[in-house]
């Protein structure tokens, strides 16, 4: 199922510049609901990056819980930078995590652009949850959600 979406990605992305390396949606029990990465990256490495970022997400969530009186945001910000990628995280109130991985070489992406990407993701995820044909906890198969994610991945700058 993921293979199909990767192939579609390949076909659509010939010759277009991509900044986003990949987008993942993780359920509250920490298994993936949706993973999509750009074809040129090795899929396994992307899965691994997302998996390791979950630790940082958990750390941030529990740290936020201890700070009192703060405006607790859903956006977690830059989780950690590696030499190739920057990983951003966002957690919803239902403890579903969104992870966006972008190229480190791309410096033009500002914080509020990432925030707006997460908001778009959250909005279309809410639509998926309200779809009666979707069972919560199942992998996301909505074409509308696919469309939003493809739109975000092929955007330049």
């Amino acid at each position: 199922m993921f293979g199909d979406s990767i192939r579609k990605c390949l076909a659509g992305l010939q010759g277009t510049q991509t900044w986003r390396v990949g987008i993942a949606v993780i359920a509250k029990e920490n298994y993936p609901l949706y993973i999509r990465s750009v074809a040129s990256q090795s899929e396994l490495k992307f899965h691994y990056t997302v998996h390791t970022s979950l630790d940082v997400v958990e750390e941030k969530i529990s740290a936020v819980g201890k700070s009192l009186g703060d405006q607790r945001e859903l956006y977690l910000g830059l989780l950690y930078p590696t030499e190739d990628y920057k990983v951003y995280g966002y957690v919803t109130n239902s403890k579903v995590k969104f992870v966006i991985v972008v190229d480190s070489s791309n410096t033009s992406l500002r914080d509020n652009e990432i925030r707006s990407m997460f908001r778009k993701l959250h909005n279309s995820f809410t639509d998926v949850m309200c779809n009666p044909f979707h069972n919560p906890g199942d992998p996301i198969q909505s074409k509308a959600f696919d469309g939003i994610v493809s739109g975000m991945m092929v955007q330049t700058g």
């Binding site: 359920a27 029990e29 969530i61 819980g65 607790r72 957690v91 239902s94 309200c130 009666p132 906890g137």
Partner: protein
């Protein structure tokens, strides 16, 4: 405005449809049938609750603790879903919460006193499910029940869901694995393997059997 009563009418139709379906062909509904109807209604409410809470908490900051979540349910959630706030919230600070609504929207049309009191539970099942679904998606696994003493006031009680029911599922698996390890012992000695090798096999199997029940427990909590 017609939109407010749309859901109330639809809800009444849903309840009567479910009961009629269960009764088709039978003269009277026995307790088992009634329980089936209530659990169908509750299940519908559960799925609706999960979706609604996703939409309602999209823009709210994350919750500090259980009490914060219950306050959200009493104020914002109840306002958006039932168009009023909960009148009274009580807790024992150990996971049990009692929410009292003195003029519950889905009961106001039924009666103003004790008339039709025995019919009231079927009109509360869906809302119990909605509350349970909302809490489940926010991370609070619960058992939600409702009671009515005088219409249209009703009390919802939320108790922490105990995980003891899933632990009994693990013991058959454990017994099965232990039987297998005894066989391993026998085979090991048959083939003349050293005691050390067999011992390591047994430890490996024992650790696998300990981890599998916990996995099953997590999966059960995730599905329900």
């Amino acid at each position: 405005m017609a939109d407010e009563v749309l859901f109330e009418f639809l809800h009444m139709e849903i309840v009567s449809h479910i009961y009629k379906e269960q009764q088709s062909g039978k003269a009277e509904l026995d307790n088992k049938d009634r329980a089936v109807c209530v659990s169908v209604l509750e299940g519908m409410g559960f799925r609706v609750g999960q979706g609604i809470i996703e939409r309602l908490t999209r823009d709210t900051p994350s919750f500090k603790d259980e009490l914060d979540i219950m306050k959200f349910i009493c104020k914002d959630f109840w306002t958006k879903v039932f168009r009023r706030q909960i009148d009274n919230l009580r807790t024992n600070h150990q996971g049990t919460y009692v929410l009292q609504d003195n003029k519950f929207t889905l009961l106001t049309q039924l009666s103003n006193g004790k008339q039709y009191l025995d019919q009231a539970p079927r009109y509360l099942a869906f809302s119990c499910g909605v509350v349970r679904g909302a809490l489940s998606n926010l991370g609070m696994e619960s058992v939600v029940t409702a009671e009515v003493s005088i219409m249209p006031s009703c009390k919802y009680q939320r108790k922490r869901r105990s995980t003891s029911s899933t632990q009994t599922q693990s013991s058959p698996l454990l017994i099965y694995v232990m039987c297998q390890t005894i066989d391993v012992f026998r085979c090991g000695f048959l083939f003349g393997l050293g005691g050390n090798t067999v011992y390591r096999w047994v430890i490996k199997i024992a650790t696998v059997s300990v981890s599998i029940p916990s996995l099953k427990k997590e999966k059960c909590n995730a599905l329900i």
